[in-house]
């Protein structure tokens, strides 16, 4: 089943075209990595897909429900009520976590569920379950500022998972972490991939992306330069791709 469909997504900032028509379709259970140099537009693309940025042109749909489409050269988004429903389809893990600093770890995971309509008991049960899965049970009563970056990122993953999204986006989830802490977050994502969680991951971790994804997308200058199975991309003859992969995987 197709969970995400983006067609010809375009976006400009101050007259500069950052995305020049990106299309992507992601099926249930697929793990897709988006790689590319800084400024290639991969984060902007992810933010457009999550509707944190409005597209200038293109089509966007989740699980067959349209979220945005182009009409007479202008992008029209679905009505507010429908967008609210559509947003429940996906979660997003941010580069800098964006946990709520004034809430305990537990409340960070509980409150969004209650906003979605669960009772406190249900939400707490689910939250403790998610925290346990991510090895954070003993941190439930702590505040985010008392945790390491890796732990904070795991809390933010727990917070996203507790809402049971069908698709989970990751926006450079380890870029704000030092190498020692990167591993624990990558492990969590690896575990999720093993459970066939549908994920779209923007990352600079080449080896990780290669190992975890079903499909990789290489973006450059606002377009998809290459797309395919990880091994195909790594063994590509394309000079640009070769040099990029080579530099980042440290080979």
């Amino acid at each position: 089943m197709e969970l995400l469909r983006v067609e010809n997504c375009r976006k400009s900032f101050d007259g500069e075209e950052i995305l020049k028509g990106i299309s992507l379709s992601v099926n249930e259970g697929e793990v897709v990595s988006v790689i590319g140099p800084s400024g290639s537009g991969k984060s902007t693309f992810l933010r457009c897909a999550c509707m944190l940025e409005t597209m200038d042109g293109g089509f966007l749909a989740y699980a067959g429900k349209f979220a945005a489409k182009e009409e007479n050269g202008k992008v029209v988004y679905a009505p507010h009520v429908e967008l609210k429903e559509i947003r429940k389809t996906y979660g997003l893990v941010f580069q800098n976590f964006n946990l709520f600093p004034h809430y305990t770890v537990l409340k960070n995971v509980v409150e969004p569920q209650m906003i979605a309509g669960k009772t406190r008991e249900e939400a707490e049960k689910k939250a403790l379950e998610c925290l346990e899965k991510l090895g954070l049970s003993d941190k439930a009563k702590n505040y985010p500022c008392q945790l390491s970056g890796g732990q904070q990122q795991r809390v933010s993953i727990a917070r996203a998972l507790a809402l049971e999204p069908k698709v989970l986006f990751f926006d450079e989830p380890t870029s704000a972490l030092d190498p020692e802490l990167t591993g624990e977050v990558l492990k969590v994502i690896r575990d999720l991939a093993a459970l066939h969680m549908t994920m779209i991951i923007v990352t600079h971790e080449m080896n990780f992306a290669r190992e975890v994804s079903d499909r990789m997308i290489f973006m450059e200058n606002g377009v998809i330069r290459a797309e395919g199975k990880p091994d195909d991309l790594f063994n590509s003859d394309d000079e640009r791709l070769k040099s990029f992969m080579g530099k980042l995987s440290g080979n």
């Binding site: 996906y90 800098n96 964006n98 969004p112 906003i115 979605a116 996203a160």
Partner: protein, 217 residues
């Protein structure tokens, strides 16, 4: 007049001073919020109105505002005010004036909340109102506490401005006694009272700030 009589008289004025102080905080702290929301609103008219309000409140002397609010019912509408209105006018003027200052402090606090907090809330399904009440406002209050402390300490001293319409607060009392006795003593004593008052206020504000130390932004 002996020293203890002076002190007793000042103490009775102190009660009025403390009332002005507390009532002003009680009304101006919440009132600052709608003013700042209007200021930050996408509605241009609302934002402009709030902007003008803040500008006038901050740009004219508080003493003048007190006098205007006290005399406005009579000169503006021909209403004879009762004796009790004197105190009410002071509270209205102080609350309106301080709300403007608090509104600006709140605005700086709101604008210092990282975009990521709004984005996370949006993705997690919070409505705009829920985001503001649950995520933005609590963090804003923590951020603005030091600036609020400053303003609150100024308020303690500003209460003396209400002598302009002869409110029976401490400074007015001190001036009256000083004039009658031809002595600086009552004013000096009033100074000591203000200092002690502010000393206590500063300690309380510090305590409140400390209370919010349990998390860092």
């Amino acid at each position: 007049m002996s020293l203890d009589v002076i002190f007793l008289k000042l103490m009775s004025g102190m009660g009025v001073t403390v009332s002005i102080f507390l009532l002003t905080l009680l009304f101006s702290i919440p009132l600052g919020l709608p003013i700042t929301l209007a200021r930050m609103s996408k509605n241009k008219v609302l934002s402009a109105l709030s902007g003008i309000y803040i500008s006038v409140m901050r740009g004219t002397p508080l003493m003048l505002q007190i006098i205007v609010i006290y005399f406005l019912p009579f000169y503006g509408f021909g209403i004879n005010v009762t004796a009790g209105y004197r105190f009410i006018a002071v509270i209205i003027a102080f609350s309106l004036n301080y709300a403007a200052y608090f509104a600006e402090i709140y605005r700086s606090g709101i604008q210092s909340i990282p975009r990521g907090q709004y984005e996370a809330a949006l993705i997690l399904g919070y409505s705009n109102t829920q985001t503001f009440i649950r995520i933005v406002m609590p963090q804003m209050f923590k951020r603005v506490l030091p600036a609020m402390t400053n303003e609150i300490i100024t308020l303690v001293k500003d209460t003396s401005l209400s002598f302009a319409i002869a409110t029976a607060e401490m400074f007015t009392m001190a001036k009256q006694i000083a004039a009658k006795e031809a002595s600086l003593m009552p004013l000096m004593a009033a100074g000591v009272f203000y200092y002690i008052f502010n000393f206590i206020v500063a300690i309380i504000c510090k305590k409140v700030e400390k209370h919010f130390d349990y998390y860092k932004i």
